[in-house]
Symmetry: C2
Subunit: 207 residues, 2 copies
């Protein structure tokens, strides 16, 4: 009988509708300022219904959080055809920054917001493979750079963290509006300019 399957499908549909509504509201007003009632209003269901599909607000956040990593990883895939590891490294930087600036709220959710990440790491660590994957891709690339003679005298893991920190630092200062006061005139280009300075530095370390 296909009834059970249809019901399953309908359940999944409503679950998806909740996620879409939550995502829109989260990105529009922020996680904190989005209430379960707001989400319920948007999908025209009662607040209580949402708790039949998600344990709590954190779980909704968590699912969207994971989706972000899959998106970012997806963008990185085009780099697998770039054989030169230094070029690939720079490509990763560009894609990372572009992703962050194009999806500032999603980036915020993924790398800046702190609320429900503890809940995540406490529960299912399997679900972190996505975030794990992106960083491991960076590490593998830097390892290749070292193997081909770049970054002499540097330690791979710490250097990978440093590179990640540099791009994260720029975009997070931008996203959290710390440039506005201190670099008012140059707000729109400062991240791109900073990234270029960074690429210059990377090139100098090659020789």
């Amino acid at each position: 009988m296909g009834i059970a399957e249809r019901k399953e499908r309908e359940k999944e549909e409503l679950r998806e509708r909740i996620l879409v509504a939550a995502k829109n509201l989260f990105l529009e007003k922020g996680v904190e300022k989005t209430s379960i009632r707001n989400i319920a209003d948007l999908i025209e269901y009662s607040p209580g219904s949402i708790y039949h599909y998600f344990k709590d607000k954190n779980e909704i956040f968590h699912v969207l959080h994971q989706g972000g990593f899959q998106q970012l990883m997806g963008r990185m895939e085009v780099l697998e055809s770039v054989s030169n590891p230094m070029e690939r490294l720079k490509g990763m930087g560009s894609i990372y920054v572009q992703f962050a600036l194009e999806n500032p709220d999603m980036y915020d959710l993924m790398f800046i917001k702190d609320a429900p990440i503890l809940h995540v790491s406490n529960s299912n660590e399997e679900q972190w493979k996505e975030g794990f994957g992106t960083f491991n891709f960076l590490r593998a690339t830097i390892q290749e750079c070292i193997q081909t003679g770049h970054f002499r005298g540097h330690e791979e893991e710490a250097l990978s963290f440093l590179v990640w920190s540099t791009v994260h630092g720029m975009v997070s200062l931008r996203i959290r509006r710390r440039c506005e006061v201190v670099l008012a005139q140059r707000q729109d280009t400062i991240v791109k300019d900073g990234l270029n300075e960074f690429f210059n530095i990377l090139d100098r370390l090659s020789s």
Copy 2:
């Protein structure tokens, strides 16, 4: 008559007590999860009273926020005796990172949390001189480095932003627990190790 003065003093004292209580609670439970009632309970006053000393919760946050910048600037002052600009630059990095790791919640308040910063920049821009000052100190130092032959081919403002971003990136990834999953074994040393890699890079750019 000294009565008015005594009253003024008492008012200032209660204001200070509110700030101390708020700071403790903010750093302990976070700004968001600290309620006005929590603060009122701690100082044994009614919730309404607090609104006679501060316009709203944001103003309390704002005053503490400013205090953080003054603290950080204070720590930087010892570097004014360091004449070599490259050494001074590295000293700034060390002090910045140390401040952040020793006062993670205050750092969070100053550079990561986003809630009330708009309110700040909209209101009194005078009050931002502290944050302005720290960054300008960095810029001045890097300018000196350039004048003494370092960082050839780099642009001062963008490079300053990049340097700030690098240290901010490391400490903010640490504070917001993004190292836990990805660098579990090395959590406690990764920021120090990353900073050393950064110092190595800076030294290489000197020659």
